[in-house]
């Protein structure tokens, strides 16, 4: 890639955003519908669009912006069990994601190491991994609810089960593909197995492991929204479900943007960590 001027790309981004928002504004305001004569009493009982004989339109950028400001102005309120601010819902979701993800990392990285270092283990576990990996994590949800008998723990389990595979496979792959020369050098220097693992294999496989962790956190964040929509209670996914319940698209769009920004932040944090362990051959 040729060197680009950062200002130019930034300006282009801003231009694309402006065009999209302008298009959205025009599209959402042009939904004028056929008007049938409706009496005033009836009109008072239905939404403005239904009174005019149409369907409620998609919210305009201005409406969404207003809702977004309202949410962001007071993100941490608690007005009862079922009515809490968007910031609190985000905190619940992040808590679940980090718990499930940490558990997965604790299991996947040592296990991946074992698989990568031993062709026997790799052969034995590979069929299980290949069958379990493509299962949509949400398919686990009814099973988890039935066996764990706790909806909060079930959500964490679903995060765990979906974020374990990329870490496991990447760790195994990274460990298995450490250059033979390096291992031979270690053997020549009479390093013990543990020392070889910690001082030769781990640094060599670290970038691959980190890539696996980065993929995992992305998947975990994708899945938590769906899991919370299914189980309800708390979390940003529940917030989306709840606003869907009220058919409030402006709130849903707000939540979508917030989910995107948080996901990007998580991904960038791991990208920084990946760069920290990168090396040049």
């Amino acid at each position: 890639m040729r060197a680009t001027r950062p200002f130019a790309s930034l300006a282009l981004s801003a231009l694309i955003l402006t065009v999209l928002v302008a298009f959205w504004q025009i599209a959402s305001s042009s939904g004028a519908s056929q008007t049938g004569p409706v009496d005033a009493e009836y009109a008072a009982l239905v939404g403005a669009a239904a009174a005019a004989g149409g369907q409620s339109p998609f919210p305009s950028p201005a409406e969404v912006g207003t809702r977004m400001l309202e949410h962001l102005a007071d993100p941490f309120y608690v007005r009862g069990t079922n009515d809490q601010g968007i910031g609190i819902q985000l905190a619940y979701s992040l808590g679940r994601v980090l718990a499930g993800y940490a558990l997965a990392a604790l299991l996947a990285i040592p296990l991946g190491f074992a698989i990568g270092m031993s062709p026997l283990m790799y052969g034995a576990l590979n069929p299980f991994i290949q069958v379990l990996r493509p299962i949509s994590p949400l398919a686990w949800m009814p099973l988890a609810l039935y066996t764990i008998r706790d909806s909060g723990a079930s959500s964490i389990f679903v995060i765990f089960i979906c974020s374990i595979w990329p870490m496991l496979l990447n760790t195994a792959f990274g460990v298995a593909s450490v250059r033979r020369e390096w291992l031979n050098v270690a053997r020549t220097l009479e390093c013990g197995r543990l020392r070889t693992a910690l001082h030769v294999i781990l640094p060599a496989a670290a970038p691959t492991i980190m890539t696996g962790m980065r993929i995992s956190i992305g998947i975990a964040w994708l899945v938590i929204v769906a899991a919370e929509m299914l189980v309800g209670g708390t979390g940003i996914g529940y917030f989306v479900w709840n606003q869907w319940n009220n058919l409030s698209l402006a709130d849903i769009i707000t939540a979508i943007l917030v989910i995107g920004i948080v996901g990007m932040t998580l991904d960038q944090a791991l990208a920084v960590a990946t760069r920290a362990v990168a090396y040049q051959d």
């Binding site: 049938g36 409706v38 009496d39 009493e41 009836y42 008072a44 009982l45 239905v46 939404g47 669009a49 239904a50 004989g53 149409g54 369907q55 409620s56 007005r79 009862g80 069990t81 079922n82 009515d83 009814p142 609810l145 039935y146 008998r149 706790d150 909806s151 929509m229 299914l230 189980v231 309800g232 209670g233 529940y238 479900w241 709840n242 606003q243 869907w244 319940n245 009220n246 058919l247």
Partner: protein, 461 residues
């Protein structure tokens, strides 16, 4: 006359106030809003318990308010009490009543609900203080769907829950889940559902023309499913072959209707009204026109919970029955709508909830209809309703083999407990738990469920 009033006073206040301490229901409601006392202690708990027994006995003996007044007015207070005491062991009844456990074992409870107007009594009992009045600290938790509420209730994450009235039967029988003894001590709402069709079907109102339609119902084990199947089967369509029925969570029904994924739904309110509000569909018919007084949602609790905490169960049931009676009064419906519409409960525009509860609603076709009993609230769990539900479960192959209809009904629908709670609150429950229901002009006799089942041409198995 309230439960705490002297039944031997011919001028005692009328029955309209559930606690008997106010002249009218309006005064009762007004006092309720600022009242913090949970027990009317100043008058002495024992004296009150005695009053409750006296009231219950006089009510049983005289039957109607007019007869009681006439008799007591005629012979005088003391003579009336003595006369009654001669034929009924009042003193012993008072002792027996005082012995029943009134200790509340567990005060902090979690009750799950689905955000629909069917759950009105369970929900409004929270903001309007009915749980607190009975000494309970209840947290009402909105839940995402019927399968989830069932699993969370089974897992004891909830102490009690809002369920569809066929669900406790299904859970007890093990249809769709492992069999666990479940109970239903109170019906929440009667009527209050509707068939909503997409706008483009406004000229296809005859169910005979519905071949190929795709419908949504909230759950397989729901009155909605059974009523929709019944309705189309009466029109000659086989609900399994000629139309498609899918279980879709209520909030998603309107979104699906809008996206043309379904042609209509038989669903709970406020979503029928919400479809009208958003110009997506129109109300084809109210389920009260299929079966006036049909049960819908219920207050359900596990048998285990009742055994472990009988005092809590008793207080909770009384709170629910009282909240149901309050919700049933048309004069309170607007106030109830305002209490349950906010984000913490239903999360719907207030006008939508109000139209459902008051029965003055836009039908989606440009008319304002006035149907005051569009939805009503009546806690009494008729065993005959349970038997009807069981016949439909069998009709559509959800359960197989021989079942003892009456026994299961009695085991799950706790009519005796409901009746007791109603009596304690000064309401008058029916004397028996079985009656003939009329569904689309066809009478259902609870004494002959198998004969009823055999009378349907369209059925599975």
């Amino acid at each position: 006359m309230g439960v705490f009033d002297d039944p031997f006073d011919p001028k005692a206040r009328p029955w309209s106030c559930p606690c008997g301490r106010h002249a009218s229901f309006a005064a009762h409601a007004a006092a309720l809003a600022c009242e913090t006392v949970t027990d009317p202690e100043p008058r002495g708990a024992e004296a009150l318990a005695d009053r409750i027994v006296e009231t219950a006995v006089t009510r049983a003996v005289f039957g109607t308010e007019a007869r009681r007044r006439a008799f007591v007015g005629l012979v005088g207070r003391a003579a009336a009490a003595a006369a009654l005491g001669a034929v009924f062991p009042l003193g012993r009844a008072k002792e027996a009543f005082a012995e029943t456990p009134r200790r509340i074992e567990k005060r902090d409870l979690k009750v799950g609900f689905i955000p629909i107007t069917c759950a009105t009594p369970i929900i409004m009992a929270h903001p309007m203080g009915f749980y607190a009045r009975h000494g309970l600290n209840v947290e009402v938790i909105r839940t995402a769907g019927w399968a989830v509420i069932r699993d969370r209730a089974i897992n004891r994450e909830y102490d009690a829950a809002h369920m569809l009235s066929p669900m406790p039967l299904a859970i007890t029988l093990g249809a769709g889940s492992a069999p666990i003894p479940w109970t239903m001590p109170a019906v929440e709402n009667i009527n209050g559902q509707a068939i909503t069709l997409a706008m483009r079907h406004r000229d296809r109102r005859d169910p005979k023309d519905w071949r190929g339609f795709r419908f949504a119902v909230p759950f397989d084990f729901s009155m909605h499913n059974y009523l929709l199947r019944y309705y189309v089967a009466e029109a000659g369509l086989d609900p399994d072959r000629d139309i498609q029925i899918r279980a879709v969570p209520p909030p998603e029904m309107v979104a699906n209707l809008r996206a043309d994924n379904i042609d209509g739904f038989l669903g709970p309110d406020p979503f029928n009204q919400r479809a009208v509000y958003d110009g997506v569909g129109f109300i084809h018919l109210l389920t009260k026109d299929l079966w006036d007084g049909h049960p819908c949602c219920a207050f359900a609790i596990s048998r285990e919970m009742i055994r472990e905490a009988p005092g809590t169960y008793h207080a909770l049931l009384r709170a629910i029955v009282e909240a149901t009676a309050y919700s049933s009064n048309p004069a309170n419906r607007r106030e109830v709508a305002a209490a349950i519409a906010p984000q913490n409960y239903l999360n719907q525009p207030q006008t939508v909830v109000e139209q459902v509860l008051t029965g003055s609603f836009a039908d989606g076709l440009g008319r304002v209809q006035r149907v005051p009993n569009r939805i009503d609230f009546d806690p009494f769990p008729w065993h005959s309703m349970a038997i009807w539900i069981l016949t439909q479960m069998k009709r559509w192959g959800q359960i197989r083999g021989d079942i003892d209809y009456a026994q299961i009904a009695e085991q799950v629908f706790l009519a005796t407990d409901t009746a007791q709670a109603m009596r304690e609150l000064g309401l008058s429950p029916p004397a028996t738990a079985k009656r003939t229901h009329v569904i689309m002009g066809r009478a259902f006799d609870p004494a002959d469920p198998e004969g009823y089942l055999a009378s349907f041409a369209i059925r599975r198995g």
